[in-house]
């Protein structure tokens, strides 16, 4: 049967067909839909949203040791979080097949950097495969798991946004049940002590040699010769599609699907046949550097940029100096930056903070990063998940030792609190940080499209679960005061912030109000409306940064199709010119 599938759907299907029994992940664009599709196979595959990527990797590692095929999935920066277990598991080797999926984001469509995670394969000395479309995303999974078991190695399955979020036609197969491998206690293999690791490192070096031999004859690496061509192209991943689009039959291709260790013999044989050899790869010169180190003459990043994602045009311009004809218009457009939704509970908190002087707000990754956008502009830092607390701690200590009286508020969302906020919260209370940790609890993992987390009381597989309340956690770790407040009640929000600023004891804030997009919430029955006669055109209501509130023809308006009646703008208006309608 043929079906149009995204790369992420195809990866999930591939795991199902290849007999995977355990899958774990933490949501992150562009990887999220992998587990969201795995759950369709929950009769066959146990799957979970883990609290963070490190936990996800460890769950999958444990399952592999116990004898069932397992996968974990995460975005590129998630692999940084999961790097610790994966580097050691690369030394230990597997029992049943283990695959870690890294979804990289060239061009940073939805990320804070565009790191090239292929280097992780080389760094951790594990095998790597890279599909170039949806069909391969499905098919390569079975081979990746086979490689893992055959060579006793974790396998990095590397995809990018354009693989994950592009759809193509996929021929489906059936599930092959894979017998559970016997678990036998093996201290020498699975207990990573220095003595065992010393031996393991030697084994790993031999394994790399064996993997390179395999690479030279792997079905994932293919040569496509076209007659009378003088150009040879070594390429992998979606860059292969771009090269084909640009050169068609006018070049020959070595299309690599198994990209670490590189099949150096195969590459040498291929390039020997051509006058010109191009290496077409996205981001860093991962293959090119290794080829040049092996003495192969080739052209890569001298011409092809290592910034941002490629597309056929970029490749054509770089290698053929060919540009498409473009007609431009002499018309102005205004930027359309992403914004907090109408009714977003974060708005009340960030509006409150935007009015404070001598206050620093350290944030991190989630919808609440948008609190830093104009007109709110109420964020000082965003580094990585959890840094909202711990980088805030560092700033607070720096202000303390340098005699500054700036106040620090650190913010994380509920999902981020469970991901890596708790450790920072412990640091603040234990090491006496003069700052206020704030959990913006909107009852869901928002930015990635509403996944369950330990605060929601449901698992990925739809079971009821214990609902962990950040308030209880903060109290348990030693915060004397944990103030719960509705962030859209601006008076209460402001009083809480003031009280926290002046508190001599450990003080934490948990704002509680659900994300307005959560399915199944009771419908919003009220809306806000501007009373034209009362509007003094002071534009205060525009300062809350709500997409539903705008200024037109000399007065403020509220778009009735967008407003959900959160009343934040109403509370800001000093002239009672905004009224509530409906009940």
């Amino acid at each position: 049967m043929k079906q149009l599938m995204s790369g992420n759907e195809a990866i999930a299907r591939g795991a199902y067909e290849a007999g995977v029994k355990v899958a774990a992940a933490y949501p992150g664009t562009p990887s999220t839909e992998i587990l969201e599709n795995i759950v369709d196979y929950k009769e066959h595959i146990y799957c979970e949203w883990s609290p963070n990527e490190k936990v996800a990797a460890e769950v999958a590692i444990g399952a592999s040791i116990a004898g069932v095929r397992s996968i974990c999935a995460m975005k590129h920066v998630g692999v940084n979080v999961a790097a610790d277990p994966i580097f050691t598991y690369a030394y230990l080797g597997v029992n049943a097949g283990f695959v870690m999926i890294t979804a990289d984001d060239p061009s940073m469509h939805s990320s804070q950097n565009e790191q090239d995670n292929r280097y992780y394969a080389k760094f951790a000395k594990m095998a790597m495969v890279e599909p170039s479309d949806s069909q391969e995303s499905k098919d390569f999974m079975a081979e990746a798991l086979r490689i893992s078991e055959l060579f006793d190695t974790p396998v990095l399955f590397r995809v990018t946004t354009r693989i994950c979020h592009s759809k193509g036609i996929v021929e489906l197969g059936e599930r092959t049940e894979v017998e559970t491998k016997k678990y036998e206690k093996n201290i020498n293999k699975f207990v990573a002590t220095p003595a065992h690791a010393k031996i393991a490192h030697g084994t790993v070096e031999k394994r790399l040699k064996a993997l390179e031999k395999y690479a030279n004859r792997s079905p994932l690496n293919k040569v496509e010769y076209n007659e009378n061509t003088k150009i040879g192209i070594v390429t992998a991943s979606v860059a292969y599609q771009y090269a084909k689009e640009v050169f068609g039959d006018n070049a020959s291709y070595l299309k690599l699907g198994f990209t670490y260790p590189l099949p150096m013999e195969l590459i040498k044989d291929f390039v020997s046949k051509f006058e010109t050899v191009y290496v077409v790869e996205e981001l860093e010169p991962f293959m090119e550097e290794q080829m040049k180190a092996a003495g192969i003459k080739c052209i890569g990043k001298e011409l092809i940029p290592n910034l941002y994602e490629l597309n056929p045009d970029v490749v054509a311009k770089a290698l053929l100096n060919k540009e498409s004809e473009i007609k431009t218009l002499d018309a102005k457009v205004v930027a359309r930056p992403p914004v907090l939704c109408p009714g977003c509970p974060h708005r009340g908190f960030f509006y409150t903070m935007s009015r404070k002087k001598d206050t620093v707000v350290t944030g991190d990754i989630g919808c609440y990063t948008l609190g830093g956008m104009a007109p709110l502009s109420a964020l000082d830092t965003c580094i990585c998940m959890g840094a909202g607390f711990s980088a805030g701690m560092g700033m607070a200590k720096a202000f303390e030792v340098s005699g500054s009286d700036k106040k620090v508020f650190g913010v994380v969302g509920d999902s981020t609190f469970f991901h890596s906020g708790i450790t920072g919260a412990i640091d603040i209370v234990y090491n006496k940080g003069k700052m206020v940790p704030v959990v913006l609890d909107n009852r869901i993992t928002g930015m990635t499209g509403h996944q369950e987390n330990p605060g929601t009381g449901k698992t990925l597989m739809g079971q009821d679960a214990v609902q962990i309340d950040p308030v209880d956690v903060l109290k348990a770790i030693g915060y004397k005061t944990v103030k719960v407040v509705d962030p859209c009640d601006l008076k209460a929000m402001n009083e809480t912030v003031e009280e926290a600023s002046n508190s001599k004891e450990a003080y934490a804030i948990v704002t509680k109000r659900p994300c307005v997009l959560i399915k199944g919430l009771s419908p919003f029955k009220t809306k806000c409306r501007v009373v034209k006669e009362k509007c003094k055109k002071c534009k205060m209501c525009l300062k809350v940064g709500c997409p539903a509130v705008f200024f037109k023809d000399g007065t403020s308006y509220i778009d009735q199709s967008m407003c959900v009646g959160c009343e934040v703008c109403m509370q800001v208006c000093k002239f009672d010119a905004i009224e509530k309608v409906g009940e």
């Binding site: 043929k2 149009l4 469509h109 939805s110 479309d133 946004t161 354009r162 979020h165 592009s166 759809k167 193509g168 036609i169 979606v238 599609q241 771009y242 084909k244 689009e245 068609g248 597309n311 056929p312 045009d313 970029v314 054509a316 540009e323 498409s324 004809e325 473009i326 007609k327 431009t328 218009l329 002499d330 018309a331 457009v333 205004v334 930027a335 359309r336 930056p337 992403p338 914004v339 907090l340 939704c341 109408p342 919808c367 990063t369 948008l370 956008m373 104009a374 007109p375 928002g446 930015m447 997009l517 534009k539 525009l542 940064g545 709500c546 997409p547 509130v549 705008f550 200024f551 199709s561």
Partner: protein, 190 residues
């Protein structure tokens, strides 16, 4: 670039672009084309710029196109048409919904919604202007304006050999099928 056709759909989060590209790709696949589709939803659940690219032909390699490559640009919002116009081939067609959604710098009063956009488009490109919002309201559901635009797109691309009504029936929630088929036909008439 052989016989491959490139469609670029642009608009604002929440306008139903992803659904249109889903129906479009399902129909093209059924008609026997090789199809690739790529989407970028930006960071925000709502309010950000959204684009999807659909490519179809005998054999499609790249899921995305570069500038100057789209045969047709369908814009669900006026300003977005101009933002993405450089992706259109000089001889390409732009189908633009005469509908304004102010972005945050405009809503907050920092900037004004630019004037004369439709005229600028018309002066340089083959332009089809339609009021999908009004058409959808006449049918009785403003949310069907995306399907009105699908109708206009099918007409512009002359993809009449495909039974789009059947595809809509297979893709859309049964309760909303009738009104969406009305919207589709309305889009073909405009």
């Amino acid at each position: 670039m052989s016989d491959t056709k490139n469609i670029l759909l642009v608009g604002v989060g929440g306008q139903g672009i992803i659904l249109v590209s889903k129906i479009l790709t399902a129909g093209l696949m059924k008609a026997g084309y090789d199809v690739k589709m790529s989407e970028v939803h930006g960071m925000a659940q709502r309010g950000g710029s959204v684009t999807t690219q659909v490519r179809y032909g005998k054999k499609v390699y790249s899921p995305i196109i570069g500038m100057g490559q789209a045969d047709i640009l369908v814009s669900f919002e006026k300003m977005e048409a101009v933002r993405w116009i450089e992706y259109l081939k000089p001889e390409g067609v732009v189908v633009v919904n005469n509908y304004e959604i102010p972005s945050m710098p405009i809503a907050s009063g920092k900037e004004k919604y630019p004037q004369g956009l439709i005229e600028a488009l018309q002066s340089a490109f083959k332009t089809v202007v339609l009021d999908a919002g009004k058409a959808a309201e006449e049918i009785g559901n403003i949310k069907t304006q995306n399907i009105v635009l699908l109708g206009a797109l099918v007409k512009a691309l002359e993809l009449d050999e495909i039974d789009w009504e059947e595809i809509i029936r297979e893709t859309i929630n049964p309760r909303l099928v009738d009104i969406n088929i009305k919207a589709y036909n309305k889009g073909k008439e405009l």
